[in-house]
């Protein structure tokens, strides 16, 4: 098959003449997924922003920064492997999910800290609620129900061990300082009203 492109860079690709011979993509060569939480501004809660595919936690942090904090204000992010997040059932109407989470019973083993996230409205993102110490994810959710509920309607809870997260380090907080300088990514940088007005008046 001969591909002739308008783009000279495409025509220069050595493989382009034998494109049919390129083998199929290796099946399931995919990386794991990592859940990304973003803090838009100092003092605001972190909220779930999406996922990235990455080969490890450190690269997940880097890719999360590129993918999910490229455009809008950000002061900090953290990421964890999807497999570390324990998920409660999702409720609706006036059913608070914490009313469905049973007590985990007497504590067994050593407690470790867990990060707790709440879903306040279906269709919105999970928001970071705080940290609890527990011996299991289920206990972490139960304790969250006691200490972090704050009288709010909550439809879904996530709990993940704190030591599985990659947090933004203090020395990395300048990663996002240049965002406001990138005016070329801002709609306000493309004002052409005067030019259009002059053109229409002449017409």
């Amino acid at each position: 098959m001969k591909v002739v492109s308008l783009d000279p860079r495409v025509n220069r690709l050595p493989e382009i003449s034998g494109i049919d011979s390129i083998s199929r993509k290796a099946p399931l060569d995919q990386f794991g997924t990592y859940e990304v939480f973003v803090q838009p501004k100092e003092g605001k809660p972190f909220q779930h922003e999406g996922i990235v595919h990455a080969p490890n936690l450190e690269l997940a942090f880097l890719l999360a920064k590129e993918t999910l904090t490229r455009r809008f204000m950000c002061s900090s992010i953290f990421v964890t492997d999807t497999r570390n997040v324990f998920v409660s059932p999702t409720t609706e109407n006036d059913q608070n999910v914490y009313d469905l989470i049973p007590s985990a019973g007497p504590a067994q083993g050593n407690a470790r800290p867990y990060e707790i996230f709440h879903l306040f409205k279906r269709g919105k993102q999970h928001v970071h609620a705080g940290q609890v110490a527990a011996t299991s994810p289920q206990e972490a959710m139960w304790i969250g129900g006691q200490s972090l509920r704050a009288g709010k309607m909550i439809y879904n809870v996530w709990a993940a061990p704190t030591d599985t997260f990659r947090f933004t380090r203090d020395e990395e907080r300048d990663l996002w300082l240049t965002l406001p300088e990138k005016k070329f990514r801002d709609a306000a940088a493309y004002k052409a009203g005067d030019k259009l007005k002059t053109f229409l008046e002449k017409k």
Binding site: I19, T33, H48, G50, I51, V52, T67, R70, R71, Y190
Partner: protein, 328 residues
């Protein structure tokens, strides 16, 4: 960018027969109340299938759509235009990532979607099978193809599936600069020299037919989509989207003194609808089935990118990498 003219499969009358009537009723009631469906909620297999199809096509369109514009980065006139176009193309690829993630929550891994794209099994927006000959073609895409996409995406952002709506909210926020940038480029061509004006007029002549195809086949020949509209998978008919686009952008094109290459294009003030020459749907089908001017090139470039990146993925792969369906 993009998200119009999704090609849905025809729905067979028997597809809902195996669903539990109680769960189906609760699912439909939730949508009627205006609540979102989240990944772990019960949903009919047909809803899952058609959503994967739609979101996946949308994601493919973002990365394929980056190709005709990406071509023009090195030749964009001046440093500012290069910076802007580079940022825009980067955004489009980022949008693909957001959309693949939303589709993944329904159970289809991203790698399988990419495999289906490069092997020609999945579709993407037909408009990117046409070439961008000149800088003005690139400006047409940035302004009007993005405008069409925004019409569609704003509608779909009010749909029923939570992860897709969240991705679209973010995409629409990022798109606002694309649209302004595209309009800015076209105003500069329109108010420039006679050669610049002629260049945009020629681009408009080339791209008008693909733009009319963009929203998909007209309602009287497109797949039966009543169920999808009731489930808020599809938020408006193809003809309604097309009409909304014409309503918003034809006056802006005319204002700049350009001629739209359709002598029958006019707004019927009585009905409030635009009248136009019926687009050539045979041409649309021919191109979407692989016989367009750039289909082979677009897929070839993606295949080569996959092939060239394989050693990196293999080098980074380890047994600790275990794929699971993402959460939201």
């Amino acid at each position: 960018m993009y998200g119009g003219g999704t090609i849905f499969e025809n729905i067979k009358g028997t597809e809902l027969e195996n669903e539990d009537p109680g769960q189906l009723a609760a699912f439909e009631a939730r949508i009627d109340r205006g609540e979102k469906i989240e990944p772990r909620d019960w949903m009919p297999a047909l809803y899952r299938k058609q959503l994967i199809r739609m979101i996946e096509q949308h994601a493919h369109s973002e990365i394929i759509g980056a190709l005709p514009e990406g071509t023009w980065i090195t030749r964009a006139p001046g440093f500012k235009r290069k910076m802007a176009l580079m940022a825009k193309v980067q955004d489009e690829v980022g949008h693909a990532q957001l959309l693949y993630s939303a589709a993944e929550t329904l159970g289809k891994p991203r790698e399988q979607m990419i495999d289906d794209l490069i092997n020609g099994k999945s579709k993407y927006s037909n408009i990117f099978n046409y070439p961008a000959f000149t800088w003005a073609d690139s400006c047409f895409i940035s302004w009007l193809v993005d405008a069409g996409a925004i019409v569609n995406q704003l509608a779909n952002a009010k749909g029923s599936y939570g992860p897709y709506c969240r991705a679209l909210d973010r995409i629409c926020a990022e798109e606002s600069f694309h649209l302004k940038y595209g309009h800015h480029c076209v105003i500069y061509l329109a108010t420039g020299t006679a050669i610049q004006r002629a260049m945009f007029q020629e681009a408009l002549d080339r791209w008008w037919a693909p733009m009319m195809h963009f929203f998909g086949p007209s309602d009287n020949i497109s797949a039966h989509t009543e169920t999808l509209m009731r489930w808020k998978v599809k938020m408006a008919t193809n003809d309604d989207m097309r009409n909304q686009f014409l309503d918003m952008y034809v006056p802006k094109i005319w204002e700049l003194g350009f001629t739209i290459p359709d002598p029958n294009l006019r707004k019927n003030e009585t009905t409030g609808r635009w009248e136009y020459t019926e687009p050539d749907w045979d041409e649309f089908k021919r191109v979407i089935n692989g016989d367009g001017p750039c289909n082979k090139e677009r897929l070839a470039v993606r295949r080569i990118a996959e092939e060239r990146g394989r050693w990196v993925r293999e080098a980074l792969q380890s047994k600790q990498n275990v794929y699971v369906t993402p959460l939201a």
